[in-house]
């Protein structure tokens, strides 16, 4: 068991009072930064970077990984409390967590999601520790055709998020696709619809979700004169720590989410997003009460939240084994590794194994600390919310405006956020689902590009989807699922008809 020896060695490296204190502080700071709308791992790491100069490599990396993990935990807080998710994987958290907050169960939502995050993160880390080289050696055989099929599967969950209003869902999906086409298109080299220079790189996704969810909700609540009554600040622990009942309801979804997140999180780009949406669809499918999804369902909150955090170590696998960053956050980690004089690449584990294992041990420790500190922080955040509930509309507006400003340090993204705020308000008022819209914004450009790359790899022929064993397998599985669900529906209808006839 080489992996265990290495891990113990890594722990030996980091278990000093100084490092432990650093990881704990970094996790806390990361949580707070991640909780602010518009700020994510990059802001957190940029903030901490100057402090790491002059530290030993292992301590510096512990600091950065602690902040990184912390922002992942922090993202849920604003999703649940003010309906302002900070990134795409956190959208489901808002979808199920925010209704719980409105029902006065915000603390419970935070507690459950902290536990699922912990389990998901731990599961992903275990896979990272024991299976990273194996997974990496297979992952390289995935290419544009497989990625395209995965993105297409993700987009197909639109059907599930649509509910009973297919036409409305399709309209907002089309709108999402159109919004995503802005900016430079690296496959053709053309720049599409850049009416002003700021649009050359497309519309900032975070500005879209801050507006659509956070600000849209404020407009809606102002109109409906929604008055929150969350009671006075208090510290009853029972409110914050999920009981046996909630935990048993969350257990199975958390486990399923962890597995799905680790597997799909390895896919670069939108792996984590696709995984959370697929997991949400899966949980809705398996649920005995699918109609309660969207109104604060615990399974719908716990599963995707575990998926989201399991995908973090998953996306570190290609970084550590191949030197290839799979997501925005890991790209920043790559920069940090280089800054510490390491050379990320296939030889990283051989040349600097001790530091990498210390970093992994730091991640394990950070995950444990973060569970503890996040559970302890719940009363702080919930009571903060209670303290400002009389002026909540203004607090959210201010956070959204300043958060949008900090995306590029310019008012441009405030305009974007305002426009999508109005859109979010109109959609909410008229019962148009936002999930399909966001999914289209994230996945449509990826699906478009991967499809074009696939056809280019096939030198103009789409046969490539059938020639590659993995993509062929995915296609067959997708066809089987489709056939089964169509067959099931037909049989269900026939039974219903027979039952109706028998009843006559």
């Amino acid at each position: 068991m080489d992996a265990i020896n290495n891990l113990l060695m890594g722990f030996g490296e980091i278990l000093t009072p100084f490092n432990i204190a650093i990881i704990f502080a970094a996790g806390l700071i990361g949580t707070v930064v991640g909780a602010l709308p518009g700020l994510g791992p990059s802001a957190g790491i940029a903030l901490m970077l100057p402090l790491t100069f002059g530290m030993p490599e292992a301590s510096g990396l512990c600091l950065l990984t602690g902040v990184y993990m912390g922002t992942m935990y922090g993202g849920r807080i604003t999703s649940i409390l003010i309906n302002a998710p900070g990134d795409a994987p956190a959208i489901i958290t808002a979808l199920e967590g925010y209704p719980m907050m409105q029902q006065g169960r915000g603390a419970m939502a935070l507690g459950i999601s902290a536990f699922s995050s912990f389990i998901g993160g731990l599961f992903g880390l275990l896979v990272l520790i024991f299976l990273a080289p194996v997974i990496a050696s297979y992952a390289i055989y995935l290419g544009p055709p497989e990625y395209f099929l995965l993105m297409a599967t993700g987009l197909a969950t639109v059907m599930l998020l649509a509910g009973d209003q297919i036409a409305k869902a399709f309209l907002v999906t089309c709108l999402g696709v159109l919004v995503s086409t802005f900016g430079s298109d690296y496959v053709s080299g053309q720049i599409r619809f850049a009416f002003v220079p700021e649009l050359i790189e497309g519309i900032d996704f975070v500005a879209i979700i801050i507006g659509l969810y956070g600000l849209g909700e404020v407009f809606y609540n102002l109109e409906k004169r929604v008055k929150l009554n969350l009671g006075k600040p208090g510290f009853r622990m029972k409110e914050f720590i999920p009981g046996k009942e909630e935990l048993s309801e969350a257990a199975a979804p958390t486990l399923r989410g962890s597995i799905l997140g680790t597997l799909i999180g390895i896919v670069p780009g939108a792996g984590a997003t696709v995984a959370t949406f697929l997991d949400y669809a899966l949980e809705k499918r398996l649920s005995k009460k699918p109609e309660t999804f969207g109104t604060g369902n615990i399974a719908g909150l716990a599963g995707p939240e575990a998926t989201n955090n399991a995908a973090v170590p998953g996306s570190l696998i290609p970084l550590i084994t191949l030197g290839i960053p799979g997501s925005g956050g890991t790209a920043i980690m790559l920069g940090a590794l280089i800054m510490f004089g390491l050379r990320p690449g296939p030889l990283l584990m051989t040349t600097s194994g001790d530091i990498v294992w210390a970093m992994i041990a730091g991640l394990v420790l950070a995950n444990v600390f973060l569970l503890a500190s996040n559970v302890l922080l719940i009363p702080v955040f919930v009571n903060l919310l209670r303290a400002v509930q009389g002026n909540l509309a203004n607090v959210v507006i201010a956070l959204c405006v300043v958060g949008a400003f900090s995306l590029a340090y310019s008012p441009f993204n405030i305009w974007i956020m305002l426009i999508f705020g109005v859109l979010g308000y109109l959609m909410k008022k008229n019962d148009y689902p936002t999930g399909p819209f966001i999914l289209a914004v994230v996945l449509a450009p990826l699906a478009e590009n991967y499809f074009r790359q696939s056809v280019m790899l096939g030198q103009g022929s789409a046969r490539i989807f059938l020639d590659r064993p993995i993509s062929l397998t995915i296609l067959i599985v997708m066809a089987l699922i489709l056939a089964l669900s169509v067959f099931g529906q037909i049989r269900g209808k026939r039974r219903a008809r027979q039952a109706a006839q028998a009843g006559e």
Partner: protein
């Protein structure tokens, strides 16, 4: 049909139409597979068709007149949302002069007074405290140049 839904559908259709026309500047097919104009063009057409379908469906469903009725009452009900949005758009335009927080403060005070029922003193103080906290976090702590 509600005025706000009509606005949403019409807005989407106009936006899609603009993108559709603009996308004619880009190749529909390229040497291999489809070009940069393919996706925007097709989805713009699809969006316009879906918008038309939703509008027609709403027309067939309701017995009443197609165009929304009692607009002035509806507007009154939606006034807080419309006013807030308008204030924010105005404030963002003022941000071109350099300050983000000053116009924001004015909007927040206006919302407090008009929709949250705060007294003038409370509105001025509470929002100043809120912005001070935000300034402390974003500018002093995180070094984001927001003023």
């Amino acid at each position: 049909m509600r005025a706000s839904e009509l606005l949403l559908i019409a807005g989407t259709a106009v936006f899609a139409a603009v993108i559709g026309v603009q996308s004619a500047n880009f190749q529909y097919f390229s040497k291999q597979g489809f070009g940069p104009g393919f996706v925007p063009m097709n989805f713009a057409i699809l969006a316009v068709l879906l918008a038309a379908y939703l509008a027609v469906k709403a027309r067939l469903k309701t017995d009443g007149p197609f165009l929304p009725q009692g607009i002035s009452e509806r507007l009154k009900a939606a006034f807080p949302a419309i006013a807030t949005a308008a204030l924010l758009f105005g404030a963002t335009a003022l941000m071109a002069f350099g300050s983000v927080l000053a116009p924001l403060y004015a909007v927040m005070v206006a919302i407090s007074l008009a929709f949250l029922g705060h007294t003038i003193a409370r509105a001025l103080v509470v929002n100043a405290v809120t912005l001070a906290a935000i300034y402390g976090i974003f500018s002093l702590w995180l070094n984001i140049p927001v003023v």
